[in-house]
Amino acid sequence: MNRELFEYSLRLGDTSLILGHRLSEWCGHGPILEEDIAMANLSLDLIGQARMILAYAGQVEGKGRTDDDLAYHRDARQFRNVLLAEQPNGDFAVTMTRQFFISVYNFYLYEALKKSNDKTIAAFAEKSLKEVAYHVRHSSDWMLRLGDGTEESHSRTQNAVDDLWIFIDDLFQMNEVDELLIKEGIAADLNMIREKWKTHVEDILKKATLAIPQINNFMRTGSREGKHTEHLGYILAEMQFLPRAYPDAKW
């Protein structure tokens, strides 16, 4: 079961790490100062959450790898973050739509994982849930403001929703890892999370006067097997450069 638990912890940790890194790219470039600070704050929460669960992944694996080893010394194929998290920031509407989709997903996922039989995963979920509630609130507010805003903001946000929609199925993919861990009462059933996600997201999109995409084919999946879009490699090249070039570097 350790292999499955390691995989599962990587999914949680890598999604937070990669999304956190993406958001950090906005630091100093936010549209207004308050929003710049907000995105840096979300990023900080996510990277903190990633450290917590990647440290656990290292323990479960039992090869002595730390959270830093896992973050900085794996290649793209070994990452298990959802494809949506690695998508480029695009314009502000793309960033907020990506944030909204993942925050709502994380919220319901962590709500379920609070009851996990694995006490470290349960503690991680309990702690992260409170932070993610702020992320849901913040990104939902922006969806409403942008969607129901000007013609320009509406069309940019609708484009973002349409473009990112192909990565939604990937969030809810399950394989033998889920099967085993659900049986053990450790993992959450993503079919149930999907129902809650759909209700919440559709409600906000409607209020934001945005259309819900009706595409059901051409959905991209593969993150569970480490099959990523090309964007992940570029993130890793930047994120991992220093610890790879100078392995003993210390602050």
Binding site: G48, S128, Y134
Partner: protein, 167 residues
């Protein structure tokens, strides 16, 4: 057999000298970060919990704990970080809240559970200005200079101010 000559209470008093580096009016007990002091034979175990997962002040707090204990000649200790129960501002007592207000930061005013629901339902509660006590204020940003604070503006006394968020 325990050979430690220092009591749990004495250690607790030493640790109370450790302040939050970002909000120096609060010590780590008032902040709710210090959870427990116990003994494992003659080794002292100090249990702490982070405020927010990514709070950069945690490293500074750990360093400060180490130096305070070292100053008092205590070497045989370890610091244990726990995540459950998750840190909450519900642990902050009235005295600590008053200190925050006197320092110019609006203290958390509601229970964390209530607050979580209002976040999801997208409701906003009035936040009191720490300077003039008016509730005619508006939220500037839910995220402030540190993870635990939000930014507001008081329409009455025209002062921007920070709020320690309910969490």
């Amino acid at each position: 057999m325990k050979v430690t000559s220092i009591s749990k209470e004495e250690i607790w008093q030493i640790l109370k000298q450790v302040k939050d580096p970002e909000v120096p009016v609060l010590d780590i007990e008032e902040l709710g970060v210090l959870r427990d002091v116990s003994f494992d034979d003659d080794k002292i175990i100090i249990t702490i919990t982070p405020t927010y997962s990514g709070c950069p002040a945690m490293n500074a707090i750990e360093q400060e704990i180490k130096s305070r204990l070292a100053e008092n000649g205590i070497e045989n200790f370890s610091i244990k970080t726990i995540f459950s129960p998750a840190w909450t501002t519900d642990w902050m007592n009235d005295e600590a809240k008053q200190k925050l207000k006197d320092y110019g930061i609006t203290p958390p005013s509601r229970s964390a559970g209530q607050h979580l629901n209002s976040l999801l339902e997208r409701k906003s509660e009035p936040v009191q200005c720490p300077f003039c006590n008016s509730t005619d204020t508006k939220l500037t940003s839910a995220f402030g200079s540190t993870a635990c604070k939000a930014l507001h503006f008081c329409n009455h006394c025209h002062q921007p101010f920070e709020e320690f968020k309910c969490h």
